[in-house]
Subunit: 323 residues, 2 copies
């Protein structure tokens, strides 16, 4: 680890550490999508991961990395979604408490997911200032270790195990496309993938409505004063110092897309792969569609990051099952 | 093969014959569903099969079993759904024509699926008499071989490869639950599973609104004068002589459930497994819920038969992706 930046070695160690707490997720293919894009597409299904998203990989690695005294005081984080549920599950595996600071107005199904995995929910106002204040209070009271959702080398190394696993399942990948939110997943995957094969290309997929990574790369410094506006609720976070450094070093390009393009891609994934993915996951297919000229004839990995959609918003009817 | 009834040997031969024309489908698990049922549930995902349903297994086996002269004249069937698409795909693999007689009023997404796989669609009125008349005309004109959706030993042996594959993926299964429509899938799976392990239990899941198999078993003869009324559109067919004989010999019990129970189970599968299954598939979870006392502590296989739901009936909205 150089300058606190994890590398392939740390990802491999994370894979050993998290072992059976995570699923080895399947890689699915679709003849229809292959034909539409003129490429060989391999979808890594982290929507089928435990807790419904890749986040359990990083959370398990972080929680299992604590020594016994640290662990005894519990862990804490702020999250409106998948990281909270993942940290709750990882803490529950180790028999310790997870304090999750959640802003009012969070998606109900994601809140339910945190509760179901045994997380202790502490509400805060939906502002950065209040979130920080409440998290500091929780830590002062409990002595819990704060586990940041992405700007943490243990989290990054853990998320990278998705890329490591994909490379083992699909030899000879030319390109891998990964969603970009806070940057933990793409950072971890790129250090794993490029560590094994320096010639592989890693492409980021970022919603146009939360394009801080693209702007930051262009500016050469972190631009985080954006007001994210995208349906891809898992990708609204802004990148941090560690993930920015790793993205600069390893990611070849970041492609952006509109919410309409994300929704259209999500619908195609539901239909062609018969799996439920959340909007964040669909960014990778939307990116592939934009980037298709460069992908033609290539073997492409696409990481589907999660599947936590609010099905309460689908009314099941008696005619065809859904309506 | 005794009395034209296929056995384990025929299923094993089918597995070799269909080889790479079908997917090896993943087996998924859910800690949540395991906890809810107090059993170890292994879901065999034929919804992730090529064409979106297990039917390609039987269709490929039948088409590949034809000699060159037979094949040259093409194949024909009547189908309002998954068998039609599967036969079209299998025929297309061999470069021959599939004539599919489809009743007016068939589910549009299933019709589109037949067309997409290159099937030639011939419409008929939605009556048994007209369907038979039109199919006879097609055969008289083309010389095509009729491939019945289930009452055919090649189809039954092909469908059985789903059970064979599941047994290879999950050793030590105590019970396997399989949907019952025309009976091809459960017949094939039961000969494969019991051929390998006579102690395994095979349970059928049949909609109460299309319970001809239950009635036929009770009567000791085929009762097919029912008017099926169920949302599980893949299970409206009535069993035939071959499937009835195999079900009588090998299936331990058939459980029935209401459409409401099927829909509730479908919703749970979407939510817990993050996959899209059609109502027919959900019957196996509904059956497991009814049968839970006998399943407690057991290792249970559940065959999810297909995922061809009409997504046009889901309005994607800009807020959360689905609404």
């Amino acid at each position: 680890m150089k300058d606190n930046l994890p590398g392939l070695t740390e990802v491999q160690a994370a894979a050993r550490r998290i072992g059976s707490s995570v699923n080895t997720t399947p890689v699915l293919r679709s003849r229809r999508l292959d034909a539409a894009l003129g490429a060989e597409l391999h979808f890594k299904c982290e929507n089928l991961q435990r807790t419904g998203a890749f986040k359990i990989r990083g959370a398990s690695n972080a929680v299992r990395s604590l020594d016994d005294a640290e662990a005894a005081a519990g862990v804490a984080t702020h999250s409106s979604g998948n990281h909270g549920a993942a940290l709750a599950a990882a803490a529950s595996d180790r028999g310790i408490t997870a304090h999750i600071v959640v802003p009012e107005g969070a998606v109900p199904s994601k809140l339910a997911n945190i509760k179901r995995h045994g997380g202790r929910i502490i509400p805060c106002k939906p502002t950065l200032a209040d979130r920080t204040r409440v998290l500091e209070e929780v830590v002062a009271e409990s002595g819990a270790t704060v586990i940041h959702p992405y700007n943490d080398p243990r989290i990054i190394a853990g998320q990278g195990t998705a890329g490591l696993e994909l490379a083992g399942q699909v030899p000879g990948l030319d390109v891998v496309i990964v969603p970009v939110g806070g940057g933990g997943l793409i950072s971890g995957c790129s250090i794993a993938l490029k560590g094994m094969n320096p010639d592989i290309r890693v492409i980021g997929a970022e919603p146009a409505g939360a394009d801080d990574a693209v702007r930051s790369l262009a500016a050469g410094e972190i631009i985080d004063d954006i007001d994210p506006d995208t349906i891809a609720d898992g990708l609204r976070a802004t990148i941090g110092p560690l993930t920015f450094a790793l993205i600069r070093e390893h990611v070849d390009r970041i492609v952006t897309m509109s919410d309409d393009e994300i929704l259209a891609a999500m619908r195609r994934l539901w239909e062609c792969l018969k799996i439920i993915v959340e909007p964040s996951s669909a960014t990778v297919l939307a990116a592939a569609e934009q980037y298709r000229d460069e992908l033609r004839g290539k073997r492409v990995g696409l990481i589907l990051s999660g599947g936590n959609v609010d099905l309460d918003r689908i009314a099941f009817c008696a005619r065809c099952g859904v309506g």
